[in-house]
Amino acid sequence: MVSSGQDTLIWVLVAVVGAGTLAFRLSFLFLFERLDTVPPRVERALSFVPPAVFAAIALPSVLPLEAVLALSPDPARLLAVVAAGVVARRTENLVATVVVGMGVLLAVRAV
């Protein structure tokens, strides 16, 4: 629990993390203007960032490490993600993907 004496420290923390995060966000938006062209290899490398980051954000919520180590994945989450993945591949429609995924999750949990 945060004690009342820590008020200033919390604000310093928010300021530090906020400023650093803003610097990360702005970094390449300003750096790239100093380069005439983006090297093709850099562009190619950057195109690998979205699949790596999206998978790294999504998968631990679907398959937490504890569930993997205990060999007891949640079948509802797995089925929901597989269904969502199929819908995403077929339609590339985010609404349909999320609705079908949530529907499968709730349906399997209700069984």
Binding site: M1, V2, D7, L9, V12, L13, V14, V16, V17, G20, T21, L22, F24, R25, S27, F28, L29, F32, E33, V38, R44, A45, L46, F48, V49, P50, P51, A52, V53, F54, A55, A56, I57, A58, L59, P60, S61, V62, L63, P64, L65, V68, A80, V81, A84, G85, V87, A88, R89, E92, N93, L94, V95, T97, V98, G101, M102, L105, L106, R109
Partner: protein, 213 residues
């Protein structure tokens, strides 16, 4: 846009509730949502605060969780070349994962769209949705209903964004390695799992790309 909001607002609600539950005042919680604007880092920070972690560890964790914004910045910068300085600040301040994903997907599909105004419109809507969700979470505090798993909307959104991003073997490898390392590295110190996973995924894809070419 709608499913992104449907995901982002409940995520904001969860983060808002977590912030006040860990002892932040309402002003501190809202200040954090406005100034940091990064749900994963906010959750990590309040989790560590609740466990009385040292200040430097908490700050470093928050920053490391958000280091991916530098990657997002690098990835979106080529779409916004020759921007006036004010616009670059606008793009940077609003930059979050879902806005990045939504924008580059749209920019790739629709070549003649006005990128600046599309990004600004979507970014402001997402920002407001996030702040609104946080406010509701802060007000509700720890009384968020646990029956409906709204938080699962977030991974579903990323699945919906991930699938179209997989175009060939290297991008498939990036996703496979990134996801696997993220799961395996869930307990890495400083919450570095996501960052390490992303780096491994990109590294694996680069190696495969070089091998194929």
């Amino acid at each position: 846009m709608v499913p992104l909001l449907v995901g982002l607002a409940p995520f904001g609600l969860v983060v808002g509730a977590a912030m006040v539950s860990s002892g932040l005042s309402v002003t501190q919680a809202l200040g954090m949502s406005v100034l940091v604007y990064g749900g994963a880092s906010q959750l990590a920070v309040v989790d560590l605060l609740g466990r009385d972690a040292p200040f430097l560890i908490v700050a470093a964790t928050g920053l490391i969780v958000n280091l991916r914004f530098a990657m997002l910045s690098a990835s979106i910068a080529p779409y916004f070349r020759r921007l006036p300085t004010a616009w670059r600040w606008v793009v940077g301040v609003l930059l979050v994962d879902v806005l990045y994903a939504l924008s580059i997907t749209t920019f790739e599909r629709e070549a003649d769209i006005d990128r600046r105004w599309y990004y600004l419109g979507a970014g402001v809507v997402l920002w407001l949705g996030w702040q609104a969700g946080t406010v509701v979470g802060v007000v509700l505090g720890a009384n968020v209903p646990e029956g409906v798993p709204f938080e699962f909307v977030v991974p579903l959104i990323f699945v919906g964004l991930l699938v179209p991003a997989i175009e060939d073997v290297p991008t498939l490898l990036a996703a496979g390695v990134g996801g696997t390392v993220a799961v395996a590295g869930a307990n890495l110190p400083l919450n570095a799992g996501l960052l390490v996973a992303a780096a491994c995924g990109v590294g694996a894809a680069l190696l495969a790309d070089r091998g194929v070419a």
